[in-house]
């Protein structure tokens, strides 16, 4: 498993080895949704996910 750190609460997050940029993971401690922005070796960088609701047009 790769590791990431929650930018909000600092908790360590375990991420699947085949994780890709753009993938969304949840922080097990604070529950925040995070977007993977970089995968470098065993470390994964994440940022808080910012999306609006499901309204995707026709």
């Amino acid at each position: 498993m790769k590791k990431a750190s929650c930018p909000e609460c600092g908790a360590e997050i375990e991420v699947l080895d085949d994780v890709i940029v753009g993938e969304i993971v949840s922080c097990p401690d604070c529950g925040l949704e995070l977007e993977v922005v970089e995968v470098e070796g065993e470390r994964v960088k994440v940022k808080v996910l910012q999306v609006s609701g499901e309204d995707w047009g026709e």
Partner: protein, 266 residues
């Protein structure tokens, strides 16, 4: 407010029952018509060699992925072919129809989606660029009111405009809900290719907003969008929403008299 879905307008016009119904009703009522046309956009895009990509949200909703080129085709088809064919069909019945998109006169202002969350081939959630889709945030009801006062029946294509003047693909059910809400419409009718909300194999004739919200998890995805939109419309001050079958006789009049479809009230 009458919204007619893409499946009903795809053969180049409005079903006969809706046309004759609107002809009669437009004498006494101020009517606004909002249309879909998603299937036609896909068809034309494919004919032009632009394969359409569809994405699935984590909740299982399937949508078109609107990149720049797709948005160009979408605008051509929705504000062009579909909108003008509908205007012509209504005018052939003596109705003073006027076609416009939500971008005209800044009728529908929307915020462009920065990111969308989709399920990838592995079933995992991925954030992708939002493309040219948007969420409506403002309606200029003054323009529509002036058209109604001048005796026109506005026919609105589901296109919005953002702060940077990008044209955006917006859901036509939502567009109808926001327009109806801004105008505090007495009735919003969704004409579809099914009888209404079906639960346990039976048509649900009436739902309160509370009941509709409770039943949402049991409602199929296509219909769920309409129920969501109906709830939004009601929360914005629309008095009643009816989701009904648009291929029968007098579907709008039947909805008005609560004789068909699913009636959703606040």
């Amino acid at each position: 407010m009458v919204k007619v879905g893409g499946r009903l307008v795809r053969e180049g016009g409005i079903p006969e029952g809706i046309l004759s119904d609107l002809e009669a009703l437009s004498k006494d009522w101020s009517i606004i018509f909002v249309h879909g046309g998603a299937d036609l956009v896909t068809e034309v895009a494919q004919r032009m060699g632009k394969e359409q990509k569809f994405i699935v949200s984590p909740d299982g909703m399937r949508s078109r992925y609107t990149d720049r080129e797709t948005m160009e085709i979408y605008t051509m088809v929705m504000a062009g072919k579909v909108n003008k064919q509908l205007v012509a069909s209504l005018q052939a019945r003596g109705i003073k129809a006027l076609g416009l998109s939500g971008a005209d006169g800044m009728l529908l202002k929307a915020e462009r989606k920065k990111k969308l969350v989709v399920l990838d081939d592995r079933g995992r959630r991925i954030a992708i660029d939002g493309g040219y889709t948007g969420k409506i945030k403002e309606v200029d009801s003054g323009l529509i009111r002036s058209l109604l006062e001048a005796g026109y029946l506005p026919v609105v294509a589901p296109i919005a405009i953002d702060d940077e003047y990008n044209l955006l693909n917006v859901d036509s059910d939502r567009a109808a809900a926001y327009l109806a809400g801004a105008l505090k419409a007495s009735l919003l009718v969704y004409c579809t290719d099914v009888e209404g909300v079906i639960l346990d194999g039976k048509l649900v004739e009436r739902l309160s907003s509370f009941e509709a919200e409770e039943e949402l998890p049991r409602i199929g995805h296509g219909m769920k969008r309409k129920v969501y939109a109906a709830l939004e419309a009601l929360s914005m001050g629309v008095r009643e929403v009816v989701i009904t079958y648009g291929l029968g006789e007098k579907p709008v009049t039947s909805a008005l008299h609560h004789e068909a479809g699913t009636l959703i009230t606040p």
